[in-house]
Symmetry: C2
Subunit: 171 residues, 2 copies
DNA sequence: TGGATTACGAAAACTGTTTTCATTTTCGGC
DNA sequence: GCCGAAAATGAAAACAGTTTTCGTAATCCA
């Protein structure tokens, strides 16, 4: 009867689940639980999207302003090592991080006009990659596929595209 | 009669063609022809593969040891701007450059064991990307697809894979 | 060939990230 | 609850790749 609240609850549960999984990882590695790490991961898991280190640090500082870059970097490495988080690089020079959503693997479309990032997954595409690898006697461990362009829906993107200052394709 | 030589000649012609195209570009931009730029581009076009700045500088220095990083970087930017060269990043932190081959666009398989890079192109894959973009009302300007894994042919890669120190998928 | 314009090269600056190191915190055993 | 070894923190320095600066030199058109 309260679908919005329901989603929020579910999301909150997922976050707690991830926090628990990370705690597990930390313990199994013989590392220590610290206030800073807890702050960082619970902040991170409550953010959505593809988060840069600076973005994360800014949020974290609102909870504990004494936390610095080093600890955020170190914690992100642990999160990646734990398998709960993936690092992405979309060519703007900064690493971005995202917690796994329910979709295990996905690829990205990046709008060069508005910066929005769309996620997609297509089994045929994945299978085709596999079969091409096979042909070349190559075994895929992982892959990255990024489509850079413009989302036609957005007003801003259409406008800029019409003015032609995007088609150049410059970074 | 001399197929190897023939290929070499053809290749040499292609290089000269590119050098001419770059000269054109320089002139149309109102820039100046210099000994350093000539050395750099003719060295670059005679190398094959995905060349890092350091690799290029090392080669260039054998012709003229006084040429420095700055000029190599600047010349590579011009080459990219001219459209004769493309920048690639395969995740090892360095930019790599490749002159267009006859194949206009291609994607890459990167062996994490031996570092070898295989190039491929598949129209079905490209078309599938297009149609997925279409579905999302997205217009692709460019894309990048990289398959990371192991080439099964190579002895070294097979051996290491068997020992299991590769499957972890760590960077 | 003069002279405005562009390029060069060494070194400094920059950016994102990693490391160092002195200090503090954690946590299992007492 | 305290001890002490082990691990974590944070400020600052170091690092790596790349870009910029700035004084000097080369280019090239009138
Ligand atoms: Mn994503
Ligand atoms: Mn290539
Ligand atoms: Zn995929
Ligand atoms: Zn492609």
């Amino acid at each position: 009867m309260a679908p919005v609240k329901k989603f929020r609850e579910l999301d909150e549960n997922l976050v707690r689940q991830k926090e628990a999984a990370f705690a597990d990882f930390i313990q199994k590695k013989g590392l220590k639980t610290t206030r800073q790490r807890n702050t960082i991961i619970s902040t991170f898991f409550r953010l959505r999207g593809h988060i840069s280190v600076e973005e994360l640090l800014n949020q974290v500082k609102q909870v504990n302003p004494r936390i610095g870059y080093a600890t955020v970097y170190r914690t992100l490495h642990l999160l990646v090592e734990s398998g709960l988080v993936e690092e992405r690089r979309f060519g703007d020079g900064l690493a971005r991080y995202e917690g796994h959503s329910d979709v295990e693997h996905h690829d990205h479309m990046i709008c060069l006009e508005c910066g929005e990032i769309f996620e997609f997954f297509n089994p045929r595409l994945e299978a085709l990659q596999e079969s091409l690898a096979e042909e070349n006697n190559f075994q895929i461990f992982r892959h990255r596929l990024e489509l850079y362009g413009a989302c036609k829906d957005k007003d801003a993107c259409q406008k800029r595209k019409a003015r032609g200052n995007a088609a150049a394709g410059a970074e």
